[in-house]
């Protein structure tokens, strides 16, 4: 029986390594192409579509003013941009801060709406209420802690206009603005950079596959209305909406120059809560969409489901099994030093165990390589310190993923059995 688990673990790790090799190869092609392309600043902004920027804010007095100012100062024709900030069930001074900003002379002539609401549905509910007031051809969403760069919206719409019939949504890149704060925020920065600069680019280059992040993206207003708005029961509304867009035959395009800064958790407790919500939301999305693997959906949707299912279920189980085998063997070897009669239950024929170690070593190597490719593409991040951190993070930060996944999986099972409704949890901000 243990041999069976060993073989399954090795094959699963191989598939994870193969997936990483393919995505990384795609990312290198993308990066190479992009480095040869020159940035084109559009001459005539009058041809650009109208956009409604929506910012859901729940008790965000610490960050909301700076965020709104960043958005209002973006390089986009004022008469083509509507801003709706939703003060969602706020018990602090978010609404007052927004009113003060709106009254400011500089922003008096802007199309700037403050929506105070006390409804349910969390972020999705807030976005759905704002959708009723939206006048733009496209909807753009920024989280309340976002700091988009001056041309972020311009680059998003520029990409959308390349193939307006085919692109249902366009997403940009998010960067951690508090990345140097502590060990945790440095590790989150590595993860963010790797996902955005390797996974997103690789998947887009090879398969024209994208996923909407929670912030810094645009989506066609007509499309989101056709979908019926944001799913108020989904914990990760962004992944849920991505599947809806793909099932309607539209693509989610990547605009890599559209960059925005966001705040990442600096505290382990806040981080665990945020990631548990994401993992749980992604489990739900996978289970809700697993049927696409067996119906007549397009290959792109099947690949998308497979990618999520592999990342959140299959590879996780393989890593847990191989970790148990590794740790048990190390413990038994230590015990055998004192008592040679004790034998590990995980003893295998021939050199098979060695190939588990080799598969694991390849996985570790490509993990570090991916991070360092991503760091090389982000000016100023490819430092010795970050290289050491990339080597260390596998044994520390990355292992948290296992704990988070198990906790989220358990919580999802309990929800299903007891019929408990999942709660939307807002990430705590830092001043």
């Amino acid at each position: 029986m243990t041999d069976f688990f060993l073989v399954i673990s090795i094959i699963s790790i191989w598939i994870a390594v193969l997936e990483s090799i393919i995505i990384m190869a795609g990312a290198i092609v993308f990066i190479h192409k992009q480095s040869r392309q020159k940035l084109v600043n559009p001459g005539n902004l009058e041809d650009y579509p109208t956009v409604t920027v929506m910012v859901p804010a729940h008790n965000e007095e610490l960050v909301i003013q700076a965020t709104v100012e960043h958005i209002l100062q973006m390089n986009y024709p004022h008469h083509k941009m509507q801003l709706i900030v939703i003060a969602d069930n706020c018990k602090d001074h978010t609404a007052e801060r927004l009113q003060a900003l709106k009254a400011h002379e500089r922003y008096r002539d802007r199309d700037f709406l403050i929506l105070e609401r006390e409804g349910t549905g969390g972020k999705s509910g807030a976005l759905n209420d704002a959708l009723k007031q939206a006048t733009g051809d496209w909807i753009c969403v920024y989280d309340a802690d976002a700091a988009p760069e001056k041309n972020a919206l311009l680059f998003l719409t520029q990409k959308a206009m390349e193939q307006p019939e085919r692109y249902g949504a366009v997403f940009g890149r998010n960067k951690a603005r508090n990345r140097g704060q502590n060990f945790l925020s440095r590790c989150i920065n590595l993860e963010l950079v790797t996902i955005q600069r390797v996974h997103h680019t690789g998947l887009w280059q090879l398969f024209k596959l994208g996923t909407i992040p929670g912030t810094n993206f645009i989506v066609k207003t007509a499309l989101i209305q056709d979908i019926g708005g944001w799913d108020e029961h989904a914990i990760t509304e962004d992944t849920a909406i991505s599947f809806e867009i793909l099932t309607r035959g539209q693509l989610i395009a990547l605009a890599p120059q559209a960059e925005a800064y966001q705040q990442e958790p600096e505290d382990l407790k806040v981080y665990m809560k945020q990631r548990e919500r994401w993992a749980k939301g992604n489990y739900s999305v996978v289970t809700d969409n697993i049927h696409h693997l067996f119906d007549r959906s397009s290959w792109r949707i099947k690949l998308h489901v497979l990618y999520y299912a592999a990342s959140y279920f299959w590879f996780m189980i393989a890593i847990i099994i191989s970790d148990i085998i590794f740790i048990a063997n190390i413990v038994y070897q230590i015990i055998a030093l004192f008592n040679p009669a004790v034998v590990s239950p995980f003893r295998f024929e021939g050199d098979v165990y060695m190939y588990l170690v080799i598969a694991w070593a390849l996985m570790y190597y490509i993990y570090v390589l991916q991070i360092n490719l991503a760091l090389a593409t982000d000016i100023g991040q490819s430092t010795t310190r970050n290289f050491i951190l990339s080597c260390v993070s596998y044994f520390t930060y990355a292992q948290l993923f296992l704990v988070i996944s198990i906790k989220a999986f358990y919580s999802m099972i309990v929800d299903k059995i007891t019929g408990r409704e999942s709660k939307w949890y807002k990430t705590e901000r830092f001043g």
Partner: protein, 47 residues
């Protein structure tokens, strides 16, 4: 054992193919990194 006669040659084959692929990716990463360093970084970083 029931599986070792086919599984070990498979392990050897897969390990060799993956090692070559990863080596190529490493060279591509390092050459890209040095190109970027030459072009933009000039020894300064913002971290």
């Amino acid at each position: 054992m029931w599986y070792t006669h086919w599984f070990i040659p498979l392990c050897i084959g897969v390990s060799i193919v993956f090692s070559i692929a990863i080596m190529i990716l490493t060279i591509a990463t390092l050459s890209f990194r040095s190109k970027i360093k030459r072009k933009y970084d000039r020894g300064k970083f913002s971290d």
